[in-house]
């Protein structure tokens, strides 16, 4: 059977066409995704991995809610200029508890993966409420509402931690039951700053094999 007459068959049969498209389009994804999704080193925690506390997790979800990832990447590439500007380049094992990943696709503002510890909590507070007070040329939006809302209102933290436990995050019963108490008295801005301050800090140069 020549190629053309084989194609004539597909061309005249709805079912064959559907199956053909599904089969041909699935190949590339399988070749790339299956090995990566079964590669244990990409999902196994090391000393570089940081399990987010109740406050940090709340802060991370606020970061997502406000779309910080739209303008800030969290991915230092292994290039001299990037390592000089931001710090050690990003490693896969630093992200095993990141659901979703927040590497981003655009740096309207600087990369944030090695942000933790570089500025004081007070600096972050001023910067989030009025970016131009500390960086005059900044084009970042201000986030005044973060100082008004209670961190405990930003989602059910216990339900979140239980959902993550299902996905393999090793939270203990105590961590989950004390989660609400940890958020007590904190505003959303406090939780967000807690998250920003641990970004990229679990990694240490010594741990590189």
């Amino acid at each position: 059977m020549s190629g053309l007459s084989l194609h004539k068959k597909i061309e005249e049969n709805t079912g064959l066409l559907i199956f053909g498209i599904l089969f041909v389009s699935a190949i590339g994804g399988m070749v790339q995704l299956l090995p990566i999704l079964s590669q244990e080193s990409l999902e196994t925690a090391t000393q570089n991995s940081h399990l987010y506390s109740a406050v940090e997790l709340t802060g991370r979800d606020i970061y997502i809610r406000e779309g910080c990832h739209v303008c800030h990447s969290q991915q230092v590439r292994p290039l001299i200029a990037e390592v000089e500007r931001y710090g050690p380049y990003s490693r896969a094992d630093e992200f095993v508890y990141d659901r979703p990943f927040l590497w981003g696709s655009k740096r309207t503002g600087p990369d944030l993966h090695r942000l933790g510890g570089k500025f004081s909590d007070d600096w972050h507070r001023i910067h989030l409420l009025d970016p131009r007070a500390v960086v005059p040329a900044s084009i970042m939006p201000a986030y005044p509402w973060l100082a008004d809302r209670d961190a405990s209102e930003a989602g059910n933290i216990e339900a979140k931690m239980r959902a993550l436990t299902v996905l393999g995050h090793p939270y203990t019963e105590e961590q989950i039951s004390s989660a609400s108490a940890e958020l007590e008295g904190l505003k959303e801005i406090d939780a967000l700053i807690a998250y920003l301050q641990i970004l990229g800090t679990a990694y240490s140069e010594d741990s590189v094999p």
Partner: protein, 479 residues
Amino acid sequence: MDSTSQNTYHDTVVIRLIQFSVFWAVAAMLAGVWLSAELVWPTIDFGQSWLSFGRLRPLHTNGIVFGFGVSALMATAFYSVQRTSHTPLFLPKLAWFICYAWQVLVLLGGLSLLAGYTTAKEYAELEWPFDIAITILWVCFALVFFGTIANRKIKPIYISNWFYGALIIVIAMLHIVNNLAIPVSLGKSYSLYAGAQDALVQWWYGHNAVGFLLTGGFLGMLYYFLPKHAERPIWSYRLSIVAFWAFVYSYIWAGPHHLHYNSIPEWVQSLGMAMSIILLAPSWATMINGIMTVSTAWEKLRTDPALKFIVLSLAFYGLATFEGPMMSIRSVNVVSHFTDWTIGHVHSGALGWNAMITYGTFYFMVPRLVGRELYSTRLANIHFWLALAGTMLYIMAMWAAGVSQGLLWLSVDQIGELSFSFKDIMASMTPYYLLRLVAGIIFLSGTVLMGYNLLMTLKGQHAVKVNVPAVDPAYGVTA
């Protein structure tokens, strides 16, 4: 001929979808213009969370892709599948249901994005209840579309339907796999994948949402409306067959080029890069096929704004599908990644290709659907030049911005110290961002002009009710 005695095409649903599509185009482009203004004057969100850049930007992208894009794809798919199958839509009531349910979904989804409900995965930001709704509506879309094809009165399935078919099937696959998540509440879920694995799944989705929706789906439009409008058959049907399968096979591999030098294994980056370059072949095969199809009908371009739009869109399609593979080369990507060059690239595709071909098909379809002349050819010609000027200015501003960002970020002096601070590079972007704002306003005003033109064409449509017979007597086929 007595048109009541036989089946007629279901075209009212097509008109309605076109109206919704134009509405979303204006709304989402307006959001885009506002966003670009926020990058120049950052306080014009007035301290409102829902106007904040991080929340408004997903509304802009989702509004364009799912509101403007998908409504236009459904409209043109329903229009062309009936005519290429010589039969009315299968389950027309379901088509009407999809038409309205999809708009409700886009509206509520958009509001949920403004309220801060987001998965953070690009072009898949909508949370899980919306993902389920999309899946259900997509299956309905598939039923109507493939049902119509199965009912067709002629043996071969025309090439435009393969592309629409690939759109429906592949987007379903990508959407389901990428959005797998554990729900926490109605507005929050956690991705089934984490870190590097999540990144790869997301860009397998993200790149191919562009591939099969913004490229494949709109190629379906091209293969029906270009030959129809140029009144020439496709230059080479065989080339279109080869290009189709090469396209479906190779596009899906290209996702990892969004993650060059990121924390994923190098082999998958290299593989993604190699396949992205290969992708140039089927992309350009289609472009050449399109250009050759109009090559004996150039004189029509003088008088016909609709065909002008379609032919110009083909040029931008060629440009974007050349630029894409170039940007996927690691040593180019090292400069372009994370910069406004990416934004420029997306818009050369979205404005130059997707929007222009859609405008061309709308100018073609609406007068035929209501059986009267276009309200104003002059306005359509003005729109053409506004669209071209807006697109060119936009991508040139973003090329300049992106290339300078990329190079300045990477620049180090003789002793290896960084040459420029991030802040200074960022501050130097203002002129480009201003230019881009102007470009956006120009493009948007063209779109508004089209909305007015089409509305005036539609007015009084009840005076002339057209029932297009399901079987075109010209084909000599009896139902």
